[in-house]
Symmetry: C2
């Protein structure tokens, strides 16, 4: 691998590290982990839906989903309801508290990054987004056939809508 692609990977890693620290801050501020928040956001956008939908949207196993739900349930942020037609399913929805919590959750990464991003010139914003998308596609192409992860597009849909405040 040439020097430049190594460098690209390096920078990518540094991005990962910084975002991870943001996540820690958000967790401290909200009392909700990033995974938990993501689950709530998906639920907000999706409306009532079965647990499996959450799992595939988040790209995690059913087992992990169950445990996340357990915690959110304890906190009183989500509700579970047995399916009518298919009784194996568990339909999920936000409680009022869940909705509130989401509404008040700081957006962490978003807020800080967003400010700076918006301070950039228009052309630069476009360029950066295009670049990120390109990188995502380079990574993703390899990934897609290897496991059940959302496509970039699906993720885009999930988060663009749910994060629109």
């Amino acid at each position: 691998m040439n020097q430049r692609s190594k460098h690209a990977v390096t920078v990518l890693r540094s991005i990962l590290r910084v975002t991870a620290s943001y996540d820690r801050l958000v967790t401290r501020d909200t009392g909700l982990t990033v995974s938990q928040l993501l689950l709530l956001r998906i639920l907000e956008e999706e409306g009532e839906c079965p647990a499996g939908t959450i799992a595939s949207r988040m790209g995690i196993s059913q087992a992990t989903t169950t445990s996340l739900l357990h915690k959110l349930d304890q906190k009183g942020l989500v509700q579970r309801r047995r399916g009518d037609i298919d009784k194996r399913q568990v339909w999920l929805s936000l409680t009022n508290d869940g909705v509130d919590k989401l509404a008040n959750a700081p957006e962490g990464l978003q807020t800080k990054f967003g400010e700076r991003f918006e301070a950039l010139a228009d052309w630069e914003q476009s360029m950066l987004v295009a670049g990120l998308e390109r990188v995502a596609s380079l990574l993703d192409a390899e990934k897609l056939d290897a496991s059940a992860v959302l496509t970039a597009e699906e993720m885009l849909r999930v988060q663009t809508e749910s994060e629109a405040s």
Copy 2:
């Protein structure tokens, strides 16, 4: 926050997710987690050094470092030695097995991403790297005063050198 910056965050997140899955693959292939590999790489580059150096280079606590070291020690990949001048210090170094393991470790993210990246036109490579660096700086600026994390530059040094095979 405007639509475009939301979108930028979304794409960033999708990148995070994909890289996380890569990490899982690497772990399965090597029997070493990404943290463990990173520790080894730093040790390779740094040469024998005290535990604290590892902690600050990795941006993790001493406690975490100790536990990582414990595992690598058990696997026989690192050696610990009490400092001569300062006996509080624990000097670390790779064992022969550690060196071998590192040499044979697949680079995961690197390899796959690298191939695709190198297939791009030269100008596009430059553009992407520049974009990533810009994004890192947007994120990092906010971050630096909030906790003890490596600066982009430090990380760059660490990984550029250690990953040069």
